[in-house]
Protein backbone atom coordinates (compact mmCIF):
# COMPACT_ATOMS: atom_id res chain seq x y z
CA UNK A 1 0.00 0.00 0.00
CA UNK A 2 2.73 2.46 0.91
CA UNK A 3 4.70 1.58 -2.24
CA UNK A 4 2.82 4.54 -3.66
CA UNK A 5 5.18 7.45 -4.28
CA UNK A 6 5.50 10.19 -1.75
CA UNK A 7 4.96 13.46 -3.53
CA UNK A 8 6.21 16.05 -1.08
CA UNK A 9 9.03 18.36 -2.03
CA UNK A 10 12.42 16.93 -1.06
CA UNK A 11 15.27 18.81 0.56
CA UNK A 12 18.88 17.65 0.62
CA UNK A 13 21.34 18.44 3.37
CA UNK A 14 24.89 17.54 4.21
CA UNK A 15 24.18 16.72 7.83
CA UNK A 16 21.78 16.88 10.79
CA UNK A 17 22.78 20.42 11.74
CA UNK A 18 21.90 21.69 8.27
CA UNK A 19 18.49 20.08 8.55
CA UNK A 20 17.84 21.87 11.83
CA UNK A 21 19.02 25.20 10.48
CA UNK A 22 16.81 24.90 7.41
CA UNK A 23 13.61 23.91 9.24
CA UNK A 24 14.14 26.52 11.95
CA UNK A 25 14.97 29.20 9.39
CA UNK A 26 11.94 28.37 7.25
CA UNK A 27 9.68 28.66 10.32
CA UNK A 28 8.76 24.99 10.06
CA UNK A 29 9.26 24.13 13.72
CA UNK A 30 7.91 25.34 17.05
CA UNK A 31 11.34 26.76 17.81
CA UNK A 32 12.73 23.43 18.97
CA UNK A 33 14.79 20.95 16.94
CA UNK A 34 12.87 18.39 14.92
CA UNK A 35 13.38 14.80 13.90
CA UNK A 36 14.37 14.93 10.21
CA UNK A 37 11.36 13.71 8.18
CA UNK A 38 13.12 11.24 5.94
CA UNK A 39 11.16 9.10 3.52
CA UNK A 40 11.89 5.93 5.52
CA UNK A 41 10.48 7.41 8.69
CA UNK A 42 7.42 8.84 6.96
CA UNK A 43 6.75 5.50 5.27
CA UNK A 44 7.00 3.68 8.61
CA UNK A 45 4.34 5.99 10.00
CA UNK A 46 1.99 5.37 7.07
CA UNK A 47 2.71 1.65 7.07
CA UNK A 48 1.70 1.25 10.70
CA UNK A 49 -1.74 2.67 10.00
CA UNK A 50 -2.05 1.09 6.56
CA UNK A 51 -2.71 4.47 4.99
CA UNK A 52 -1.80 5.44 1.43
CA UNK A 53 0.03 8.77 1.30
CA UNK A 54 -2.76 10.52 -0.58
CA UNK A 55 -5.49 9.44 1.83
CA UNK A 56 -7.41 12.53 2.99
CA UNK A 57 -7.34 12.62 6.78
CA UNK A 58 -9.48 15.72 6.97
CA UNK A 59 -10.82 18.57 4.86
CA UNK A 60 -10.96 22.03 6.40
CA UNK A 61 -13.58 23.97 4.50
CA UNK A 62 -12.69 27.59 5.31
CA UNK A 63 -9.19 27.45 3.87
CA UNK A 64 -10.07 24.56 1.54
CA UNK A 65 -7.31 22.38 2.94
CA UNK A 66 -7.21 18.69 2.13
CA UNK A 67 -4.90 17.29 4.79
CA UNK A 68 -3.26 14.12 3.47
CA UNK A 69 -1.84 11.20 5.41
CA UNK A 70 1.59 11.95 3.91
CA UNK A 71 1.64 15.50 5.28
CA UNK A 72 0.35 14.43 8.68
CA UNK A 73 3.03 11.71 8.76
CA UNK A 74 5.79 14.18 7.87
CA UNK A 75 4.76 16.46 10.71
CA UNK A 76 4.37 13.52 13.09
CA UNK A 77 7.91 12.39 12.31
CA UNK A 78 9.17 15.92 12.86
CA UNK A 79 7.40 15.97 16.25
CA UNK A 80 9.22 12.78 17.24
CA UNK A 81 6.24 10.41 17.09
CA UNK A 82 6.68 6.68 16.92
CA UNK A 83 4.55 4.91 14.28
CA UNK A 84 2.21 3.49 16.92
CA UNK A 85 1.22 7.03 17.93
CA UNK A 86 0.12 7.84 14.40
CA UNK A 87 -3.49 6.55 14.72
CA UNK A 88 -4.02 9.01 17.57
CA UNK A 89 -2.57 11.87 15.52
CA UNK A 90 -4.68 11.14 12.44
CA UNK A 91 -7.87 10.78 14.50
CA UNK A 92 -7.11 14.08 16.24
CA UNK A 93 -6.53 15.86 12.93
CA UNK A 94 -9.75 14.41 11.51
CA UNK A 95 -11.58 15.66 14.58
CA UNK A 96 -10.07 19.14 14.18
CA UNK A 97 -11.52 19.28 10.65
CA UNK A 98 -15.11 18.82 11.80
CA UNK A 99 -16.88 22.13 11.07
CA UNK A 100 -18.09 22.53 14.66
CA UNK A 101 -14.48 22.56 15.86
CA UNK A 102 -13.96 25.75 13.85
CA UNK A 103 -10.26 25.13 13.25
CA UNK A 104 -9.77 28.28 11.22
CA UNK A 105 -11.07 30.74 13.80
CA UNK A 106 -9.51 28.91 16.72
CA UNK A 107 -6.14 28.96 14.92
CA UNK A 108 -6.22 32.66 14.19
CA UNK A 109 -8.04 34.36 17.05
CA UNK A 110 -6.44 36.69 19.57
CA UNK A 111 -7.93 34.34 22.19
CA UNK A 112 -4.96 32.08 21.65
CA UNK A 113 -6.48 28.73 22.48
CA UNK A 114 -4.57 25.57 21.66
CA UNK A 115 -5.69 22.07 20.67
CA UNK A 116 -5.95 19.85 23.72
CA UNK A 117 -5.65 16.21 22.63
CA UNK A 118 -7.35 14.02 25.21
CA UNK A 119 -7.10 10.25 24.83
CA UNK A 120 -9.51 7.79 26.42
CA UNK A 121 -9.32 4.02 26.31
CA UNK A 122 -6.87 1.14 26.37
CA UNK A 123 -4.87 2.34 23.39
CA UNK A 124 -3.44 5.14 25.52
CA UNK A 125 -1.92 2.52 27.81
CA UNK A 126 -0.75 0.38 24.89
CA UNK A 127 1.37 3.21 23.55
CA UNK A 128 2.59 4.22 26.98
CA UNK A 129 0.76 7.49 27.46
CA UNK A 130 0.82 9.11 30.86
CA UNK A 131 -2.53 9.40 32.59
CA UNK A 132 -1.08 9.66 36.08
CA UNK A 133 1.47 11.76 37.97
CA UNK A 134 2.51 14.83 36.03
CA UNK A 135 0.43 13.92 33.01
CA UNK A 136 0.14 17.50 31.73
CA UNK A 137 3.86 18.12 32.15
CA UNK A 138 6.97 16.95 30.32
CA UNK A 139 8.80 13.64 30.03
CA UNK A 140 6.29 11.21 28.54
CA UNK A 141 7.25 10.62 24.92
CA UNK A 142 3.77 9.78 23.61
CA UNK A 143 2.02 12.68 25.35
CA UNK A 144 4.70 15.12 24.25
CA UNK A 145 5.08 14.09 20.63
CA UNK A 146 1.39 13.45 19.80
CA UNK A 147 0.40 16.91 21.01
CA UNK A 148 3.38 18.41 19.22
CA UNK A 149 2.47 16.64 15.98
CA UNK A 150 -1.04 18.12 16.01
CA UNK A 151 0.42 21.57 16.56
CA UNK A 152 2.96 21.14 13.75
CA UNK A 153 0.22 20.10 11.31
CA UNK A 154 -1.61 23.24 12.36
CA UNK A 155 1.35 25.53 11.83
CA UNK A 156 3.24 23.89 8.96
CA UNK A 157 0.40 22.53 6.86
CA UNK A 158 -2.56 24.65 7.85
CA UNK A 159 -0.50 27.85 8.09
CA UNK A 160 -1.37 28.94 11.62
CA UNK A 161 2.07 30.39 12.27
CA UNK A 162 2.45 32.67 15.31
CA UNK A 163 2.64 36.35 14.38
CA UNK A 164 1.39 35.50 10.91
CA UNK A 165 -1.95 33.70 10.76
CA UNK A 166 -1.98 32.98 14.49
CA UNK A 167 -2.69 36.28 16.20
CA UNK A 168 -2.85 35.04 19.79
CA UNK A 169 -2.44 37.97 22.13
CA UNK A 170 -0.56 35.89 24.70
CA UNK A 171 -0.14 32.53 23.01
CA UNK A 172 -0.43 29.37 25.07
CA UNK A 173 2.23 27.00 26.44
CA UNK A 174 0.06 24.20 25.06
CA UNK A 175 0.84 25.38 21.55
CA UNK A 176 4.02 23.34 21.96
CA UNK A 177 2.06 20.32 23.10
CA UNK A 178 -1.03 19.65 25.23
CA UNK A 179 -1.94 15.99 25.28
CA UNK A 180 -2.71 13.48 28.00
CA UNK A 181 -4.81 10.41 28.73
CA UNK A 182 -7.75 9.68 31.00
CA UNK A 183 -6.86 7.64 34.08
CA UNK A 184 -9.00 4.53 33.66
CA UNK A 185 -7.88 3.06 36.98
CA UNK A 186 -9.37 5.86 39.05
CA UNK A 187 -13.01 5.80 39.96
CA UNK A 188 -16.06 3.88 38.90
CA UNK A 189 -17.44 6.14 36.23
CA UNK A 190 -17.66 5.07 32.58
CA UNK A 191 -14.77 6.28 30.43
CA UNK A 192 -14.96 9.33 28.24
CA UNK A 193 -14.97 7.11 25.15
CA UNK A 194 -18.03 5.27 26.47
CA UNK A 195 -19.69 8.57 27.39
CA UNK A 196 -19.25 9.66 23.80
CA UNK A 197 -21.07 6.61 22.53
CA UNK A 198 -18.27 4.17 21.75
CA UNK A 199 -18.19 0.64 23.13
CA UNK A 200 -15.96 -0.26 26.06
CA UNK A 201 -13.29 -1.83 23.85
CA UNK A 202 -12.84 1.33 21.78
CA UNK A 203 -10.39 4.11 22.35
CA UNK A 204 -11.19 7.64 21.37
CA UNK A 205 -9.52 10.99 21.07
CA UNK A 206 -11.19 14.29 21.92
CA UNK A 207 -9.88 17.60 20.65
CA UNK A 208 -10.68 20.77 22.53
CA UNK A 209 -9.93 24.38 21.58
CA UNK A 210 -8.59 24.83 25.07
CA UNK A 211 -7.74 27.73 27.29
CA UNK A 212 -5.03 27.29 29.89
CA UNK A 213 -5.82 24.76 32.61
CA UNK A 214 -6.77 26.22 35.98
CA UNK A 215 -5.78 24.06 38.94
CA UNK A 216 -8.12 24.25 41.91
CA UNK A 217 -7.16 23.05 45.38
CA UNK A 218 -10.15 21.61 47.22
CA UNK A 219 -9.22 21.23 50.87
CA UNK A 220 -11.22 20.55 53.98
CA UNK A 221 -13.56 17.68 53.47
CA UNK A 222 -14.66 14.66 51.57
CA UNK A 223 -18.19 15.83 51.04
CA UNK A 224 -18.72 16.60 47.32
CA UNK A 225 -21.13 19.40 48.15
CA UNK A 226 -18.36 21.28 49.93
CA UNK A 227 -15.40 20.74 47.64
CA UNK A 228 -17.29 20.93 44.35
CA UNK A 229 -18.48 24.41 45.31
CA UNK A 230 -14.85 25.52 45.03
CA UNK A 231 -14.66 23.99 41.55
CA UNK A 232 -17.80 25.88 40.51
CA UNK A 233 -16.20 29.07 41.83
CA UNK A 234 -13.23 28.47 39.54
CA UNK A 235 -15.56 27.82 36.61
CA UNK A 236 -17.07 31.26 37.11
CA UNK A 237 -13.63 32.63 36.37
CA UNK A 238 -13.94 31.29 32.82
CA UNK A 239 -16.85 33.67 32.15
CA UNK A 240 -20.19 32.92 30.51
CA UNK A 241 -18.92 32.49 26.96
CA UNK A 242 -17.09 29.17 26.96
CA UNK A 243 -18.73 26.39 24.97
CA UNK A 244 -17.88 23.56 27.34
CA UNK A 245 -15.81 22.92 30.44
CA UNK A 246 -13.57 19.93 31.02
CA UNK A 247 -13.19 19.12 34.70
CA UNK A 248 -10.30 16.80 35.53
CA UNK A 249 -10.64 15.14 38.94
CA UNK A 250 -7.53 13.81 40.64
CA UNK A 251 -7.82 10.15 41.74
CA UNK A 252 -8.12 11.25 45.37
CA UNK A 253 -10.99 13.61 44.59
CA UNK A 254 -12.52 10.93 42.38
CA UNK A 255 -12.38 8.54 45.33
CA UNK A 256 -14.35 10.96 47.51
CA UNK A 257 -16.95 11.42 44.78
CA UNK A 258 -17.25 7.64 44.41
CA UNK A 259 -17.51 7.10 48.18
CA UNK A 260 -20.35 9.60 48.30
CA UNK A 261 -22.02 7.68 45.47
CA UNK A 262 -22.34 10.67 43.15
CA UNK A 263 -22.92 9.96 39.48
CA UNK A 264 -21.43 12.02 36.66
CA UNK A 265 -24.81 13.54 36.05
CA UNK A 266 -25.13 14.62 39.67
CA UNK A 267 -21.76 16.32 39.58
CA UNK A 268 -22.55 17.98 36.25
CA UNK A 269 -25.83 19.33 37.56
CA UNK A 270 -24.29 20.51 40.82
CA UNK A 271 -21.45 22.36 39.09
CA UNK A 272 -23.77 23.91 36.51
CA UNK A 273 -26.18 25.10 39.19
CA UNK A 274 -23.40 26.63 41.29
CA UNK A 275 -21.51 28.24 38.41
CA UNK A 276 -24.33 30.62 37.56
CA UNK A 277 -24.69 34.34 38.17
CA UNK A 278 -27.28 36.98 37.33
CA UNK A 279 -26.57 38.47 33.91
CA UNK A 280 -26.00 41.89 35.49
CA UNK A 281 -23.00 40.55 37.43
CA UNK A 282 -21.35 39.07 34.36
CA UNK A 283 -21.98 42.39 32.59
CA UNK A 284 -20.63 44.43 35.50
CA UNK A 285 -17.45 42.36 35.41
CA UNK A 286 -17.16 43.08 31.68
CA UNK A 287 -17.34 39.38 30.82
CA UNK A 288 -20.04 39.79 28.17
CA UNK A 289 -19.22 41.07 24.69
CA UNK A 290 -22.85 41.84 23.81
CA UNK A 291 -24.82 42.78 26.98
CA UNK A 292 -28.03 42.99 24.97
CA UNK A 293 -27.77 39.22 24.65
CA UNK A 294 -29.49 39.17 28.06
CA UNK A 295 -32.65 41.33 28.04
CA UNK A 296 -33.45 40.21 31.59
CA UNK A 297 -30.49 41.34 33.65
CA UNK A 298 -31.64 39.26 36.64
CA UNK A 299 -31.64 36.08 34.57
CA UNK A 300 -29.29 33.47 35.98
CA UNK A 301 -26.63 32.73 33.37
CA UNK A 302 -24.40 29.68 33.58
CA UNK A 303 -20.73 29.38 32.77
CA UNK A 304 -22.01 26.93 30.12
CA UNK A 305 -25.46 26.56 28.59
CA UNK A 306 -26.45 23.32 30.31
CA UNK A 307 -25.01 20.55 32.52
CA UNK A 308 -24.21 18.27 29.58
CA UNK A 309 -21.53 20.75 28.53
CA UNK A 310 -19.48 19.88 31.59
CA UNK A 311 -17.23 16.90 30.83
CA UNK A 312 -15.93 15.04 33.86
CA UNK A 313 -13.19 12.45 34.10
CA UNK A 314 -10.37 11.30 36.34
CA UNK A 315 -6.70 11.80 35.60
CA UNK A 316 -3.48 12.64 37.40
CA UNK A 317 -1.35 11.23 40.18
CA UNK A 318 -2.66 9.38 43.23
CA UNK A 319 -1.77 12.08 45.73
CA UNK A 320 -3.38 15.50 45.82
CA UNK A 321 -6.82 16.97 46.29
CA UNK A 322 -6.86 18.93 43.07
CA UNK A 323 -9.24 19.53 40.24
CA UNK A 324 -8.20 21.00 36.91
CA UNK A 325 -10.67 23.14 35.02
CA UNK A 326 -10.18 23.64 31.28
CA UNK A 327 -12.49 25.88 29.30
CA UNK A 328 -13.30 25.27 25.66
CA UNK A 329 -13.33 28.43 23.56
CA UNK A 330 -16.87 29.69 22.97
CA UNK A 331 -16.74 29.53 19.19
CA UNK A 332 -15.66 25.91 19.01
CA UNK A 333 -17.18 22.66 20.15
CA UNK A 334 -14.97 19.76 21.22
CA UNK A 335 -15.03 16.75 18.88
CA UNK A 336 -14.45 13.08 19.73
CA UNK A 337 -13.30 10.50 17.18
CA UNK A 338 -12.65 6.79 17.53
CA UNK A 339 -8.98 5.81 17.23
CA UNK A 340 -8.76 3.34 14.36
CA UNK A 341 -5.88 0.90 14.82
CA UNK A 342 -5.10 -1.64 12.11
CA UNK A 343 -5.20 -5.14 13.59
Amino acid sequence: MTSQNLTSLQHQFADWEQVQEYYLGANLTDGLPIMPPTEDRVRAMLEFSGLPPDQIIGFESIRQKHITAEKVAINAVMAGCRPEYFPVVTSAIAACCEPVFNLHASSTSTNGVTVLVLVSGDYAQEIGMNSSTGLMGPSNHANASIGRAVNLVKTNFYGSIPQEMDNSTFGHPGKYTFCFAENLDAGNWPSLAVDKGFDGSSSAVTVVAAYSPLQVSVFGGKDPESFLAGVAHAMIGLGPSVSEVFVVLSPEVMQYVDEAGWSKQQVQEFLWEKARLPAREWIAWRRVEHPDRFPDKDQLVGCVADPSRITLFAAGGAAGVYVDVIGSWGNSRPVTRKIEVRS
Binding site: Q12, F13, L28, T38, D40, I74, H290
Partner: protein, 99 residues
Amino acid sequence: MTNLENKLVTLDPRDESDHGPALLAPRPHTLDGKTLGLLSNNKPHSEELLQMIATNIRERYGIKGTVEYNKGSHQWPANSEALKEFAAKCDVAIHATAE
Protein backbone atom coordinates in the same frame (compact mmCIF):
# COMPACT_ATOMS: atom_id res chain seq x y z
CA MET B 1 18.05 7.86 7.32
CA THR B 2 17.69 8.24 3.61
CA ASN B 3 20.94 9.00 1.84
CA LEU B 4 21.15 10.18 -1.73
CA GLU B 5 24.68 10.77 -2.92
CA ASN B 6 25.71 11.08 0.75
CA LYS B 7 23.03 13.66 1.36
CA LEU B 8 20.36 13.61 4.02
CA VAL B 9 17.04 13.85 2.19
CA THR B 10 13.97 15.13 4.01
CA LEU B 11 10.39 15.91 3.05
CA ASP B 12 8.52 19.18 3.21
CA PRO B 13 5.67 19.46 5.76
CA ARG B 14 3.80 22.32 4.06
CA ASP B 15 0.68 22.27 1.91
CA GLU B 16 1.92 22.19 -1.66
CA SER B 17 -1.45 22.08 -3.37
CA ASP B 18 -2.03 24.94 -5.77
CA HIS B 19 -5.35 26.68 -5.32
CA GLY B 20 -4.40 29.38 -7.83
CA PRO B 21 -4.23 33.05 -6.98
CA ALA B 22 -7.13 34.66 -5.13
CA LEU B 23 -8.69 37.21 -7.46
CA LEU B 24 -10.33 40.49 -6.57
CA ALA B 25 -13.82 41.11 -7.88
CA PRO B 26 -13.97 43.64 -10.73
CA ARG B 27 -14.02 47.19 -9.38
CA PRO B 28 -16.66 49.68 -10.59
CA HIS B 29 -15.38 52.96 -12.05
CA THR B 30 -17.73 54.97 -9.83
CA LEU B 31 -20.10 54.43 -6.92
CA ASP B 32 -22.66 56.76 -8.49
CA GLY B 33 -25.94 54.91 -8.87
CA LYS B 34 -24.66 51.83 -7.09
CA THR B 35 -26.22 50.00 -4.17
CA LEU B 36 -23.77 49.78 -1.30
CA GLY B 37 -23.77 46.64 0.86
CA LEU B 38 -22.72 46.96 4.50
CA LEU B 39 -21.62 43.61 5.90
CA SER B 40 -21.07 43.50 9.65
CA ASN B 41 -19.31 40.68 11.47
CA ASN B 42 -21.17 41.55 14.71
CA LYS B 43 -18.09 42.82 16.53
CA PRO B 44 -19.08 45.59 18.95
CA HIS B 45 -19.40 48.89 17.04
CA SER B 46 -18.96 47.28 13.62
CA GLU B 47 -22.40 48.48 12.52
CA GLU B 48 -21.66 52.00 13.75
CA LEU B 49 -18.38 51.99 11.83
CA LEU B 50 -20.13 50.84 8.66
CA GLN B 51 -22.75 53.57 9.01
CA MET B 52 -20.01 56.19 9.38
CA ILE B 53 -18.34 54.90 6.22
CA ALA B 54 -21.70 54.89 4.40
CA THR B 55 -22.34 58.49 5.45
CA ASN B 56 -18.94 59.50 4.12
CA ILE B 57 -19.57 57.73 0.82
CA ARG B 58 -23.02 59.31 0.46
CA GLU B 59 -21.40 62.74 0.75
CA ARG B 60 -19.01 61.93 -2.09
CA TYR B 61 -21.13 59.83 -4.46
CA GLY B 62 -24.71 59.61 -5.57
CA ILE B 63 -25.26 56.07 -4.39
CA LYS B 64 -28.64 54.48 -5.00
CA GLY B 65 -28.99 53.15 -1.47
CA THR B 66 -27.59 50.76 1.11
CA VAL B 67 -28.28 47.16 2.07
CA GLU B 68 -27.22 45.85 5.47
CA TYR B 69 -26.42 42.35 6.66
CA ASN B 70 -24.98 41.23 9.98
CA LYS B 71 -23.46 37.78 9.67
CA GLY B 72 -23.90 37.18 13.38
CA SER B 73 -20.36 36.34 14.47
CA HIS B 74 -16.84 37.30 13.57
CA GLN B 75 -15.74 33.76 14.39
CA TRP B 76 -18.09 31.73 12.22
CA PRO B 77 -18.59 31.79 8.46
CA ALA B 78 -21.64 33.63 7.20
CA ASN B 79 -24.66 31.59 6.24
CA SER B 80 -23.96 30.97 2.56
CA GLU B 81 -27.58 31.37 1.43
CA ALA B 82 -28.00 34.64 3.33
CA LEU B 83 -24.69 35.87 1.95
CA LYS B 84 -25.76 35.08 -1.61
CA GLU B 85 -29.03 36.92 -1.03
CA PHE B 86 -27.11 39.92 0.33
CA ALA B 87 -24.68 39.86 -2.61
CA ALA B 88 -27.56 39.79 -5.08
CA LYS B 89 -28.98 42.97 -3.59
CA CYS B 90 -25.89 45.15 -3.85
CA ASP B 91 -23.32 46.21 -6.45
CA VAL B 92 -20.44 46.71 -4.03
CA ALA B 93 -19.96 45.71 -0.41
CA ILE B 94 -17.86 46.81 2.53
CA HIS B 95 -17.01 44.36 5.29
CA ALA B 96 -15.88 45.88 8.54
CA THR B 97 -14.71 44.77 11.92
CA ALA B 98 -14.47 46.93 15.02
CA GLU B 99 -14.22 46.81 18.79
